[in-house]
């Protein structure tokens, strides 16, 4: 990407930075609808993603209703069940998690944490949100087209995704692919902004090795997303051609409902390669921002510097790079050349090493810390527990032999929900509890927050941990009902009831969270500029919430890394990044560090 051409690491902008021209609209619409302020765009992203995420949550509850109490309701038929499964997966992975981490937290935190006035291309940034918004509208329209929404699984595997016999193959799949194409176009606009802002708009003194890990995580995830989303884009385009123009990129010679189809010679496995070339990095696109954010939460609330900062940065980068060469571990039993299994098992398990290092460093950050069990901290700890669980079950599925009996069972469902649903969502909650005071100037209610945490953390464990054991027994996933399958014991149904009930309770707890968000906005305790006594730049703004332009008259100067907590001898247990060594106040006599 041309970073070679100059040394961005050591680059420090001149003392008199050329001020950005910011668009300051006066009208309500200009300020809050067609806004070019990254913070407003962030909130737009967040609200839209949460809204569509709630739709996906309701879909999952409908699924749990069917699985827990089959034959009790006539709400859902087998086709609808598959539609709910598919839309739930697609919405959660792409339209909620990707959008909220990169579009939401990325937009809010990158300019603030880097010490910039705004994103470098604010207009493009605005367009990015509206493309995303349009893609969500198209997605929702998919529910109402004839034949209903796409029902081919979020993996969209052809030939079934576009052939008769699959729900939504009439129109739903076309709408889905269009929506994805628009999403990707919009994301690319936003992604360019995030990357270039981190590279070019850091304030004076903010060297690469002084970036908070949050920014590293979001930055690396964005780079990966920019490179990986084209794979999905190409695959979607080719599938649209197969569906609408009669080409045979992916469609083999086959029967459709007993009739010979017009297609021939295409390769369904080619689609899988393209899809997972996007799909696996996508896992880390969601995970890396979570890794970054949780590192900052831990450091701040344990009043201790993150352990092994450089190792953490390198781990993020290595995970990002490696995630592009592991995609075929989703295809061990796909009928691809079986010898690929050796290669991809090795690369996949290598990724476990940097990931494990991150976990060690989080835990070592707590060790000998001064831990405040605030709500964000609880969520961060919950994340570590959940992520360790989900990461370790990944060692089963990544190891090619072990994957054979477990693939396409509830073991997989349990694993990926732990590692890329619950874990990142716990981080999202933690991050909202952490940054809400900056966004609104008010604290979220602590008691409600703790109740929310305990129900969510324990409830999700009850939901997903037992699923691994169902998977061991061989219970296949994406089944509408299990009937009297001989190898599935009757008690599995009891377990399904328990899981469903837990799911309803967890879903209810999210209502508490929404209530907390709204109530605290009006009635919450006044937060002040830096309630957590944190070091990073967003807490040092002149106004809370920060105004358009983020900082006051001049941009902050950065003198230190973001983890100066409990520096020996300092009079406070934190030193903000913009406090120079000369300004630092020391205990008793003025000694040097």
């Amino acid at each position: 990407m041309g970073e070679r051409e100059y040394d961005a690491g050591a680059y420090v902008p001149p003392a008199e930075t050329e001020e950005m021209e910011l668009v300051h609209p006066k009208t309500f619409i200009g300020k809050y609808i067609w806004s070019q302020d990254a913070k407003v765009i962030a909130i737009q992203y967040g609200v839209t993603a949460t809204a569509i995420g709630l739709v996906a949550l309701v879909l999952s509850l409908l699924m749990r209703l069917q699985l827990g109490f089959p034959n009790a309701f006539s709400l859902i038929d087998p086709g609808e069940y598959l539609q709910y499964v598919s839309m739930h997966g697609m919405i959660m992975v792409v339209y909620l998690l990707t959008a909220i981490f990169l579009g939401g937290f990325g937009n809010y935190l990158i300019p603030l944490m880097c010490g910039a006035r705004d994103m470098v291309f604010p207009y493009l940034n605005m367009l990015s949100f509206w493309f995303y918004f349009a893609s969500v509208l198209i997605l929702v329209a998919g529910f109402f087209v004839p034949g209903g929404s796409m029902g081919a699984g979020w993996t969209l595997y052809p030939p079934q995704s576009i052939s008769e016999g699959t729900p939504g193959s009439e129109a739903g799949i076309v709408v889905m692919l269009l929506s994805l194409a628009v999403f990707i176009a919009g994301f690319t606009m936003g992604g360019l902004n995030y990357v270039v802002t981190v590279l070019q708009a850091r304030t004076r003194g903010m060297t690469l090795m002084r970036l908070p890990l949050t920014i590293w995580g979001i930055f690396m995830a964005t780079v990966m997303a920019l490179l990986a989303f084209p794979a999905l884009f190409v695959a979607a385009l080719m599938m649209l051609c197969d569906r609408l123009l009669g080409t045979s990129f992916f469609m083999p010679e086959m029967l459709s409902m007993g009739e010979t189809s017009d297609h021939g010679g295409g390769s369904p496995i080619l689609f899988q390669h393209l899809f997972w070339f996007f799909g696996h990095p996508e896992v880390y696109i969601v995970a890396l921002p979570a890794f970054g954010i949780v590192s900052d939460l831990l450091a701040c609330h344990a009043r201790k510097n993150i352990f092994g900062y450089r190792m953490m940065v390198w781990a993020i980068v290595i995970i990002g790079v490696l995630s592009f060469v592991v995609w075929a571990h989703h295809m061990y039993v796909s009928g691809m050349n079986p010898y690929f299994g050796f290669l991809f098992a090795i690369t996949t398990l290598i990724i476990a090493v940097p990931t494990a290092i991150k976990v060690y460093n989080w835990v070592l950050t707590l060790w000998r810390g001064n831990i405040r069990l605030t709500v964000p901290m609880l969520f961060a700890i919950g994340f570590i527990f959940t992520f360790v669980n989900g990461g370790l079950s990944g060692l089963f599925l990544g190891n090619v032999t072990v994957d054979v009996p477990l693939s396409d069972t509830y073991f997989v469902v349990g694993h990926f929900h732990m590692v890329m649903a619950v874990a990142p969502v716990l981080v999202i909650f933690g991050a909202i509890y952490h940054w809400y005071p900056k966004m609104t100037g008010r604290m979220l209610n602590d008691t409600l927050g703790k109740v929310h945490f305990w129900i969510t953390f324990l409830g999700t464990y009850v939901i997903y941990y037992p699923m691994h054991f169902m998977g061991l027994e061989g219970v296949p996933r994406r089944y509408y009902a299990y009937g009297e399958t001989t190898f599935i014991s009757d008690s599995v149904q009891t377990l399904n009831v328990v899981i469903s009930i837990a799911a309803f309770i967890v879903a209810l707890a999210q209502v508490l969270f929404l209530i907390n968000l709204v109530w605290s906005y009006y009635r919450g305790r006044d937060a002040g500029p830096n309630p957590w006594r944190a070091t990073t730049l967003e807490w040092q703004t002149e106004h809370t919430p920060p105004r358009h332009g983020n900082f006051g008259e001049s941009l902050p100067l950065v003198y230190r890394w973001p983890y100066d907590y409990s520096v020996p001898g300092a009079s406070e247990d934190f030193i903000p990044q913009n406090v120079s060594p000369e300004e630092t106040r020391w205990q008793a006599e003025g000694r040097q560090s």
Partner: protein, 223 residues
């Protein structure tokens, strides 16, 4: 996927090298006074716009690399691949696009020499060359379909349409920017003021010309 992997490897090695350079021997936990920092001016060649465009081109390269990967994998797996005859017109189109690219380079040169008419003429030539290219590509599509090479007749045909369409759409996007730039020049913008925009435009055109040459070479290799 070899093509994509090679591209990614190159990119990631660059990236890792850059990171190594920035983190090697750095002790991030040490605070420093501002006065210790060498305050160097922002190199003009690395304006935000330019970095943005380069990142965007990396994304587009990923897109084309993946499509080419798909092209090669699809060619391998099936017995139904029938290479399509390369219409002679494509040579002419290639020439038109190259000329357009050269013309924009010329216009860019005009901005450094502050020569307004040179800029305008270069811009016009570049745009017209590109439009000729696009019309030429459409004529090629027409010729092919008349000769029975429809998008659904063979995977080789389908890929030809797909690749040329992807490339053409990117060029059309470029032409939108070109149109806005031309409007500014015609409204009498000083050559210096359009320099940075024209520079980005030129870079984009060179890039698309290279992509086209790669695609064309692929098609020739197949035929």
């Amino acid at each position: 996927m070899t093509v994509s992997l090679v591209f990614l490897t190159a990119l990631m090695v660059t990236f890792a090298g850059w990171l190594l350079w920035s983190s090697f021997n750095v002790r991030p936990w040490e605070a420093q006074s501002a006065t210790d920092d060498p305050a160097q001016p922002l190199p003009s060649m690395m304006s935000a716009g330019r970095v943005g465009l380069i990142v965007f081109l990396a994304v587009v390269t990923s897109l084309f690399a993946l499509t080419i990967s798909a092209y090669m994998m699809r060619m391998e797996v099936s017995g139904d691949w029938q290479p399509l005859p390369i219409p002679g017109l494509l040579w002419f189109n290639t020439l038109a696009l190259m000329l357009a690219s050269v013309a924009l380079q010329w216009a860019r040169h005009g901005t450094t020499r502050a020569d307004g008419s040179m800029v305008a003429r270069g811009l016009w030539a570049g745009g017209i060359g590109s439009m000729v290219f696009i019309v030429g590509q459409l004529v090629v599509w027409y010729q092919l379909s008349v000769n029975g090479h429809h998008v659904d007749s063979n995977p080789a045909d389908a890929f030809f349409y797909l690749l040329t369409a992807l490339h053409g759409v990117h060029l059309l996007g470029g032409l939108v920017v070109w149109g806005r730039l031309l409007a500014r020049v015609r409204r009498g913008a000083a050559p210096v003021s359009v320099h940075s925009h024209l520079e980005l435009c030129t870079l984009y055109w060179h890039y698309l010309a290279v992509v086209w040459i790669v695609l064309f070479a692929l098609l020739l290799l197949d035929a």
